[in-house]
């Protein structure tokens, strides 16, 4: 599709803008638009699974995390102004120009070298995957077949990565001392309309998220994207009702037990007589469901830690310390 050139140019412009703009808040919004264009670009490069993951995780969740992290600190505009008027400013500008020239020359050499010497020696993995993924794994979506059956060893570490990343975030954000930033997020009452209508949408989004998880092996989707959709229900729910509703302590335990389930299930993959029976397809669905719920719990914890890092909401105050 020649229209992708338009998106590529827009991406480059947005990347430059998000680096050069002075205020971090604006840079983050540019980053969100950049990853939105990135997601649509993947769709035109016929990678629907990837564009889903990038749109869901890259543009919506990443932007939200950035904004929450820099929330308390961009308010002091006066401080930013004073920094950039000092005489050191000219020195910094000169440094940026110098490095710009160095990067342009080296980048040009590398890129021209790359396009001069790139060659393709054939793709045996591609040849084999495309021809035999239906018979081997019983999945209709080759991408799910790969990351749930051929290369399931990687997916185990990916689930572990999400578990550890969320453990780290919860661990760092519970740091007791240090000056508390102003808590203005939790106390703000939200508009009534958003609360009412988003209340209407929950069952629909939950059903849709579960649909994406369950037939991840047929149409694009699967554990990670479906889990993120379910987690978005928690996020909208926070905007509707001020309360947390879900206890982080239980969520952390749930996430770890789902992870153990994933490891146990992938161990079943090793028994050869298990695999050529028709259990293969059921194995895919079960793995997708487990990954989906694990990602949902994980992202929900991630969001609650970030949004509630200052305010321990009253109904979970007692138990929200680390389990």
């Amino acid at each position: 599709m020649p229209v992708t050139i338009v998106f590529l140019l827009a991406m480059v412009v947005l990347a430059v803008a998000s680096i050069q703009v002075r205020k971090a808040e604006i840079a983050v919004i540019y980053l969100g638009i950049f990853s939105l264009f990135n997601a649509i670009f993947y769709l035109f490069y016929s990678a629907p699974d990837l564009s889903l993951a990038e749109a869901v995780i890259g543009s919506a969740l990443a932007t939200a995390l950035f904004l929450v992290a820099i929330k308390g600190y961009t308010l002091r505009r006066t401080q930013i102004k004073s920094e950039y008027r000092s005489p050191k400013m000219r020195l910094a500008l000169f440094g940026e120009l110098f490095w710009g020239v160095v990067f342009l020359t080296i980048g040009f050499i590398v890129i021209s070298f790359y396009f001069g010497t790139v060659q393709d020696v054939g793709k045996p993995a591609w040849y084999h995957y495309v021809r035999s993924f239906i018979s081997d794994t019983g999945a209709r979506n080759a991408v799910t077949a790969i990351y749930l059956n051929y290369r399931v060893f990687d997916t185990l570490f990916e689930a572990l990565l999400l578990l550890v990343g969320i453990l780290a975030t919860a661990y760092f954000l519970e740091w007791p001392e240090g000056k508390e930033p102003e808590e203005e997020i939790a106390t703000k009452p939200d508009s009534e309309i958003v609360a009412r209508i988003s209340g209407l949408l929950y069952p629909f989004i939950l059903l849709y998220g579960f649909y994406i998880i369950v037939n991840g092996h047929l149409t694009p989707g699967g554990g990670f994207q479906g889990g993120a959709i379910l987690a978005s229900v928690f996020i909208i729910r926070y905007f509707a009702q001020r309360r947390l509703g879900i206890n982080i302590f239980i969520l952390q335990r749930l996430e770890k037990s789902f992870f153990l389930g994933i490891i146990a299930l992938s161990m079943l993959l090793l028994l050869p007589e298990f695999m050529n029976s028709d259990f293969k397809v059921f194995h895919l669905v079960l793995m997708n469901i487990l990954i989906g719920f694990k990602v949902c719990c994980g992202l929900a914890i991630l969001f609650f830690c970030f949004i509630f890092q200052q305010t321990k909401v009253e109904d979970t105050k007692g138990r929200s310390e680390r389990g």
């Binding site: 680096i19 490069y45 990678a47 890259g58 992290a69 790969i146 990343g165 969320i166």
Partner: protein
């Protein structure tokens, strides 16, 4: 064309890492570099007119499914490493107060002495 753009964005991110002194800009540059690498990986496996690797297309017409499967992992890596970096950033800002790499280093050296 997509490979050229991914190289450009990769070196743009590296440029921002070297030049920009704010911590949050370094994290944004890191996200840009990771997105550029994912862009390159996927555009390597695509040929014009090929269809997504869902079973209703003929095997010859399917695009390479391996980069897409790996890049879903890379995106999840990107989000969790950004989340950890941002969690540390919010603690850094609460304790040190500044957002500038040079000032942070000066404060850190005074603490050691």
């Amino acid at each position: 064309m997509a490979e050229l753009v991914s190289f450009i964005i990769f070196f743009l991110g590296l440029y921002a890492l070297v030049v920009k002194r704010s911590v949050i800009k370094s994290i944004i540059a890191l996200v840009l570099m990771e997105t550029a690498v994912i862009l390159y990986f996927v555009s390597g496996g695509f040929e014009e007119g090929k269809l997504p690797p869902i079973s209703d297309a003929l095997p010859e017409q399917m695009v390479d499914p391996l980069p897409q499967a790996l890049m879903i992992t890379a995106i999840v890596i990107g989000i969790s490493s950004t989340a950890v970096a941002l969690a540390m950033y919010s603690q850094l800002h609460r304790k040190y107060g500044t957002d500038d790499w040079k000032k942070l280093m000066k404060i850190r050296l005074e603490e050691d002495a």
